[in-house]
Subunit: 357 residues, 2 copies
């Protein structure tokens, strides 16, 4: 991982508010970012997502991608239209916009911290929560695995149809994300790293992940390691999540693990994520884990906390760890003082957190 260049002047942000609640939560994230940041941001807004696609047929024009590439970082709200919109086939936006950005900008570390903040409600029982604090980070591989779009279909629509999806895993891709995960584990007090895969069934990919994990582990004797299958990981996340410190896993398993992690730590209203290019060859992208929630869009009822915390990850990535920590502390304070049963408008949450800075 390259350390952030020390920057003093202004930094350029590409903002993709997206659809549904995206623009509302992004506005609050920007509000907080601007108050917390030691540098000024020059923001450029890019209208991408379901709305643009439905209006123009465009998903991510090459010229727009080239422009976005010129920024220091990207802040994304959420993209996605109404469920089952016949004009918006599944995958169009996901593959064409979100995954295209992750792949083109080489976001090979999809970073998802999972922490049960004081004051937020877990669906887990008191007995499970009593086992210890839930505070782990998932390092999800972001540029390979079953997400590559490899595969295809033959004789579509006939009884002889066959459809394949190919999970592509390379030593190049696995080693770099495993190295990143070890580096992150090394910086944490517990220094523990768990590999999650399904080596007993996906033996080709599993063997590659396992060997590189063991190989990099040998260079990090201070990091405690273990391995668990994805199915067993479900059980541990539900019954003993405190056991986890850092998890490294592939793109699809990471998608699954992080949504469960978000659920047990109080819901995706709080889960932040970074699509990180640790080599800094292209801008990294920060986004809440939640979707565009079109059913509640425009009503100022969405919780912007996940977007605000994604802003903190962005600041940290750009070399402002103190400012990131200040945002996190403000969110923590806000969460622990939220009166149960009451609800604030999206902008009120942003205001309250900004006011603490």
């Amino acid at each position: 991982q390259q350390s952030a260049p020390t920057s003093t002047g202004s930094q350029a942000l590409a903002i993709i508010p997206g659809d549904g609640i995206g623009p509302e939560v992004t506005a609050e994230a920007l509000k907080v970012l601007e108050v917390a940041s030691p540098v000024t941001f020059e923001s450029t807004r890019y209208d991408l997502g379901a709305e643009r696609y439905l209006a123009t047929g465009e998903v991510l024009p090459d010229s727009v991608l080239a422009e976005i590439r010129g920024h220091d970082a990207i802040l994304l709200g959420a993209v996605g239209g109404k469920p089952n919109d016949p004009n918006l086939p599944p995958g169009i936006l996901e593959r064409g916009l979100l995954l295209r950005l992750r792949f083109e900008l080489d976001h090979y570390v999809n970073l998802r911290p999972s922490r049960l903040f004081p004051g937020s409600t877990s669906p887990l029982s008191e007995a499970v929560l009593a086992k210890g604090d839930i505070d782990f980070v998932v390092v999800r591989e972001g540029t390979e695995g079953p997400y590559t779009g490899n595969g295809g279909a033959l004789r579509v629509g006939t009884p002889a149809e066959i459809a394949t999806e190919v999970s592509v895993n390379t030593a190049y891709g696995v080693e770099r994300v495993v190295r990143d995960a070890f580096a992150r584990a090394e910086k944490r007090p517990r220094k523990k790293l768990t590999l999650v895969h399904k080596t007993n069934v996906l033996t080709h990919a599993g063997s590659l992940w396992w060997r590189l994990f063991e190989q990099v582990a040998a260079e990090h004797p201070d990091v405690t390691t273990d391995y668990i299958h994805i199915d067993a990981a479900m059980i541990f996340l539900a019954t003993d999540p405190a056991r986890f410190d850092v998890i490294v896993t592939d793109n699809l398993f990471g998608d699954i693990v992080t949504d469960l992690a978000a659920a047990i730590t109080g819901g995706i209203g709080l889960a932040a994520s970074g699509n990180v290019n640790p080599d800094r060859t292209a801008p990294s992208m920060f986004e809440p884990v939640h979707g565009s929630a079109p059913d509640i869009a425009g009503q100022q009822v969405a919780d912007p906390t996940a977007a605000i915390l994604s802003g903190a990850l962005l600041l940290d990535h750009l070399g402002h760890p103190e400012a990131a920590a200040r945002i996190e502390a403000a969110v923590l304070a806000d969460l622990s003082e939220r009166a149960p049963g009451t609800s604030r408008r999206t902008s009120e949450v942003g205001d309250a957190i900004a006011a603490r800075l």
Copy 2:
């Protein structure tokens, strides 16, 4: 689904006790089966698993498979050796024995009921449990998807290694399992079926699953249907599992969903499963979801309940639904009277359940 032939005489069971706690829990399942069944069973025991492999290098000789094929049903305990045994590479037993049986015997319906029995402890909070009873069935596809073993690796052990895993999905394979799931949903009071997949990323396979699901749904207007992505399914399973009635999903997603389902319903000590060939062209196989737990093997501390409930699924499949229901009722009674904090020996649990029949 072919209905079971009415049988009066004896039925032939192939018993694969397996490794670790497998033999102990299988003994109790057989004990209960023999008391509950209206027909006599002729059991043949097959020693297969880690122990045999380590001693002889044999996993599943063709001649043994041919013999097993001649039985009416298979009862399996658990297979698997000590974790990280260097003489037992990951996948050898899973691919060579368990999955080979599922694939060769065309177990395309991997049936996993998930029910929170009274008296058993869920890791979910009171607030989540108050939403309703957890009582759903997962119909996991068992012969396709990422489990086919398709894929491979190139330049293994070099920095240029590439490993692939191919998920294979056919209209033939998807339609038959979807039809089975609709038939099962139709027989349940709520008549609700949820498709779980990741259509927005795995677009080729997702489109096939989605289209066949919609097509079969049109023939079953009495069944309410919905669709959720695998990641969102994690959230619902953790925060509102009562919403599910029947779930149909692919082989890998089914593996993941059913372990989480087992966790939230009190642990894999209770989760039963059937690897069912609904066309009855080969014997179906019944097994607890849990593994061989070598660390507690031979100590008579394993809970045989999952194996016993798997025996009930076996009886039901062989055309003895009343006997199956009696076992379930006996297990339910046993569970609700288990004194918290005490523990019984494996054989005591079997005795107690058998005594209620």
